[in-house]
Amino acid sequence: MSSRTGEPPVDSNVSAARATGSVPLLELRDLRLDLPVNGELKRVLHDVSLEVFPGEAFGLVGESGSGKSLTARSIARLLPRGAVSSGEIRFDGESVMDLSGSALRRHRIGAVSMIFQDPRAHTNPVRSIGDFLTEVLVKELGVPASEARRRAVQTLGEVGIADGERRLRQYPHELSGGMLQRVMIACALLAEPRLILADEPTTALDVITQSEVIAILDELRRERGLALLFITHDLELAAAVCDRSAVMYAGSIVELQTSQQLNNEPLHPYSAALMAARPSVDVTSRRLAAISGRPLSAFETPFGCAFAGRCPHRQPRCVETAQELRAVAGGLVRCCRAEELRGLLTVGEEAEVQTRA
């Protein structure tokens, strides 16, 4: 197994993709992001590092407000005004941190496409779906208009919108939430990017349509080596779709694992607590196991572990020592007690299942 210098020593699981000898398509190293809040810069991302390989689906899960969307937006260089970032973002070996002008446009068109979390906020209400879908093809890629419309209709068909011709003449408010989300997906696919930043791309889709959309993405990954950064709150979906996943909490990655392993044996107490909060489609629980205490914004995090204040396994050293992302049991985890807690984190969940009615 090849391991380049400077990387944390990890064993087979997490570096499975690396073992094939391929180089990462996307590389984030110690990405930090500060945003202005009431005239003051506040930290929203702390040293986020991850890699996505060609053909890989990489999952990003975690707390609402933990920085998943901003991580994706950093990669597409679509950040709010006044944002200050540092660290490294490399796409295909080249830094995208200081891209501007036509190089930045090329990056956003041929290299990465973003499927936004809130499609209605990212479409123009007075422009037709047809214009929205064909604009990049016609204006940036020089595809003739009629050919662009033909491709748009075909791609809409693939994401389950059958009457594409008519839909192209419609406006965003005339489409249902899930249809507009599929228009977003079609738009990302039409540009034929090498990496899709998919920010909760299927939340507005019924599970049948969701399965169809995932099948298309899987096919493109296999056939064209499309890479996927997949943000989702559906942990089962992440486990089924993604090769590896990272769990974010308060602006940091607290765990990075193969998705299977994360699902079966989470290493970080936050990940485990998150898994335990899932509702089940088979059993009604009297009360769902929400994590007690309040979520923390990234800039409020104390020294040491950001989750310590809510963690049932907290010890004094958790807040006395800096918590680094370390290799444990084939994954990476930011918890000084990870080894001793192995196997103990999911016990509570099982006990809970047994008491369910």
Partner: protein
């Protein structure tokens, strides 16, 4: 005794499509949908994307006028959207909605606190201090902190916006609440907190819910009854246990078996039909 808080009878909605030539220009978005929700009851509407769920929700709260059918809410005929603002205000105490896309339903110029406060001002005569207390309490209940409460929608994450919209709807203390895909952008722990909160409010106030969701595990948790829609029609309805436990209609069966989990295999449309 259970009273019917919401009664919908034979709802139908036909949209006339823009720029379409005569004939193909009609979209039957909702076709003969009927249901009732009693006080303290909770109905889930699930089904295909584009099957008319949001259109039903909009008709319930008077934002879309039904082509046919009748809506009665808390004893009042609410079939027609209300024009007078006093009527609209009264309706706001009866039924509230949390929209599928919170970004476009929140005023971009208002902070979260202002938008919650606006609802309180409209429906209750409270002192400034009491109002501020109430805003803090609602924000806390949906897990928003002080900075987030003072932020405008632009500076909030997707799930934070969704929680502002939930707090805003709860602020009116309505008799019925329509939640359109309202917990979809929340991580499962915050989602659990919100679902527990909704359950508590239901127990304490006997509020009724119409819960639109693609997440069948969430549906199992919040609803007593489920209505399954496809192409504008109801294909199956019954108790949650019955619909999720032993679905009968082929569409419901396929829906149930498409939930991601062990052994889940994504399938292309054509592949499935073949």
């Amino acid at each position: 005794m259970h009273e019917q808080v919401i009664s919908a009878e034979g709802l139908r909605k036909v949209f006339i499509a823009r720029g379409a030539s005569a004939g193909d220009g009609k979209i039957v978005a909702v076709d003969d949908i009927s249901f009732m929700v009693s006080d303290g009851g909770s109905l889930a509407i699930v089904g295909e994307s584009g099957s008319g769920k949001t259109t039903v929700a909009r008709m319930l709260v008077g934002l879309t006028r039904p082509t046919a059918g009748r809506i009665v809410i808390a004893g009042q005929d609410r079939t027609k959207p209300c024009k007078r603002s006093s009527k609209r205000q009264a309706r706001g105490r009866d039924i509230q909605i949390v929209f599928q896309d919170p970004y476009s339903s929140l005023d971009p110029r208002q902070t979260a606190a202002q938008s919650i406060e606006e609802v309180l001002k409209l429906h209750f005569s409270l002192s400034r201090a009491d109002r501020a207390d109430r805003v803090q309490r609602l924000a806390g209940q949906v897990g928003l902190d002080e900075r987030q409460v003072g932020a405008r929608p632009r500076a909030l994450s997707g799930g934070q916006r969704q929680r502002v919209a939930i707090a805003r709807a709860l602020a009116a203390e309505p008799k019925a609440l329509v939640l359109d895909e309202s917990v979809a952008s929340l991580d499962v722990s915050i989602q659990a907190q919100i679902l527990n909160l909704l359950a508590d409010i239901r127990e304490q106030t006997r509020i009724s819910y119409v819960f639109i969701s693609h997440d069948l595990a969430v549906v199992r948790q919040v609803a007593d009854h489920v209505l399954v829609m496809q192409h504008g029609r109801a294909v199956e309805s019954g108790s949650t246990e019955q619909i999720l436990g032993s679905p009968e209609h082929p569409y419901t069966k396929l829906l149930r078996s498409s939930v991601p989990g062990r052994g889940w295999k994504p399938a292309r449309r054509n592949a499935r039909q073949a």
